[in-house]
Symmetry: C3
Subunit: 255 residues, 3 copies
């Protein structure tokens, strides 16, 4: 796959430190012509599944051949594996800890990165975003082949919590993300709610479905299939998260 | 007007979600050579007038022919109109809900967008930033003509609150924005205060005028004509907003 | 030094206002082909030393010839001096108030900016980031010579607090930065702790050293030489800043 020359970055580093800029510098040092786009840097600290969701919500809108670096990496400095891969005609680079859970089925070519190959000459124990993943992304964006970066492996780590589990008559999922409007995004798809009474969050079952936010009556939580194709719970001009007292990682249930 | 190849983006989406990146992907899919610049994504949720102020405070510093996309869009999915226009040798794209209030007088060529033309093939009910406004901005940045994007209309919607109203002997305005230093930016111009005792915010009349922040005495709120050309109220090394207990959308009055 | 065509920006303006975008517009108006990268805009308001630290933590990873603009500028509008300089094969532009403390020894060529030269035609009293430093950075990124921008001076202002002071048997330093994980970054180097019992923060001496975050035992603060080469105090899956009740600018001591 021909690279598009674009690299996106997702991290849990926040924007108030020097870490994102250091990664971008390391990337530009390898490929000064690359176009950098921020995914987000506000993944909650070490929330791998939220990172997986956020990445999944934007990568497909970029041109084919774009490289997406993702670093939510609580295991940095331990022998956990870093990977680079091709999935759905895009490239992905990051730790193999579940960040690529939603890409597992699409991954056609995965390599585990070999320390020292295409990385910065000195690799720190605490910052592989700058010293490993950014340079590797830089090389991919210049056309380097995956097989030059590491050794083939057969797939990527998929978190058990990525998809809802059936248990008895119930379907247990989770809240993947709370956006700034207070909308609660779950890991259910629209079809999971076919025939169901609604989705339970906390002590409440949300049963009214709407097409768009403006269709919601004031004061009542509703559900919709949002722009990310997941079932989300929202309120008109209010925060569903606050109203329901539900947050990131809490359980969502279909009964 | 020849496009500059630059597109700026202003939204109320925040930076912690996938929405801004999805918009940028959709834009780069149309024009992979575009240069993207963030205006801000921290407009308070659904605060159209604040969005109008923020856009007005930066667009003019960019090269002529720059495209500015703005999406603060509580009416998404309802039959509200989207527009693209030329104003002051720059292009603007977004919902016609008052976001372009401060550009109304400069607008020389306005078109209402036609759903399906130059948009993504599937337009969601909840995310026209990604599915409509970003692709339209991409086409404009590549040189597409306005008339190819939609049908002419005669102007844009201007919010009544955009400018102060005269009422009896008073001049009633509003706080457009509170910046991170706690400075309160009003919709008065310097000349509105000629001969006046000062500007009233909450229970206090601020009468001392300074030229720059460092000229303010400690502990006393002052006013100045700030870098955005609006009258702002500030305190030295302190937050005027906290001290006066005044915030976004509160009334400002000249007596 | 040949410019790389890249400019980074560090400010204390925050991302919720129009100020960063206005700076970028002013820069692109001078050099529409420049590649802009955000350092950070979340330096705590007017915290010059934190700004100096953050800049120091990323500039060296960019290609040689990159221009780094830094604006933390409480003295804007007063007769404080603005500078442009070459240090370590990179360019730097900003107020000469200590922001470049960690670059002082590397600076080989410093000029004080002359108001009106290579600035916007009208220079406001409150926003030299947009009206002076951004355009100057634009000209540098296009290859303008330093001597064309102003008059030589012999060095830059270095803050006394930038480095720890020896006092009696003690070595007194400071907390330069608290990152979003709650890690406390001090202005000690690893060698400063050779033979010492540890580093004192608040009422606690942190004596256990680790190589990487994952090596820390749960519930106990540790120190390590972090990715920025400074000594930092961290906790596993917790905020050392909250646990120790220590923050930006607080004292750190080696005994």
């Amino acid at each position: 796959m021909e690279p598009s020359g674009i690299v996106t970055l997702l991290t849990d580093f926040g924007r108030d430190g020097p870490y994102v800029a250091a990664m971008k510098g390391a990337l530009l040092a390898v490929n000064p012509r690359v176009v950098l786009v921020d995914g987000t840097h506000d993944v909650a600290p070490q929330q791998i599944l939220q990172g997986a969701f956020l990445l999944d919500a934007y990568w497909r809108y970029f041109p084919a051949g774009t490289v997406h670096v993702a670093v939510v990496d609580p295991g940095v400095g331990t022998p956990r594996v870093g990977v680079a891969m091709l999935a759905g005609s895009h490239y992905f680079v990051g730790p193999d800890n579940g960040l690529f859970s939603y890409l597992g089925r699409l991954a056609t070519h995965v390599v585990r990165l070999v320390p020292g190959r295409h990385t910065r000459p000195e690799v720190s124990a605490t910052f592989h975003g700058r010293d490993v993943f950014a340079p590797v992304a830089g090389y991919l964006s210049r056309g380097e082949r995956l097989d030059a970066l590491g050794e083939r492996q057969s797939g990527v780590h998929v978190l058990a919590e990525a998809w809802p589990r059936r248990q008895g008559g119930q379907h247990r999922g989770t809240v993947l993300h709370v956006d700034r409007f207070g909308n609660l995004i779950t890991n259910f798809r629209g079809e999971d709610l076919t025939g169901a009474a609604g989705v339970r969050l906390g002590r409440r079952v949300i049963s009214r479905r709407v097409r768009t936010y403006a269709d919601a009556p004031v004061g009542e939580p509703v559900w919709l299939v949002g722009s990310t194709d997941w079932v989300e719970v929202a309120m008109r001009d209010a925060s569903a998260a606050q109203y329901l007292r539900v947050g990131l990682g809490d359980e969502a249930r279909v009964e």
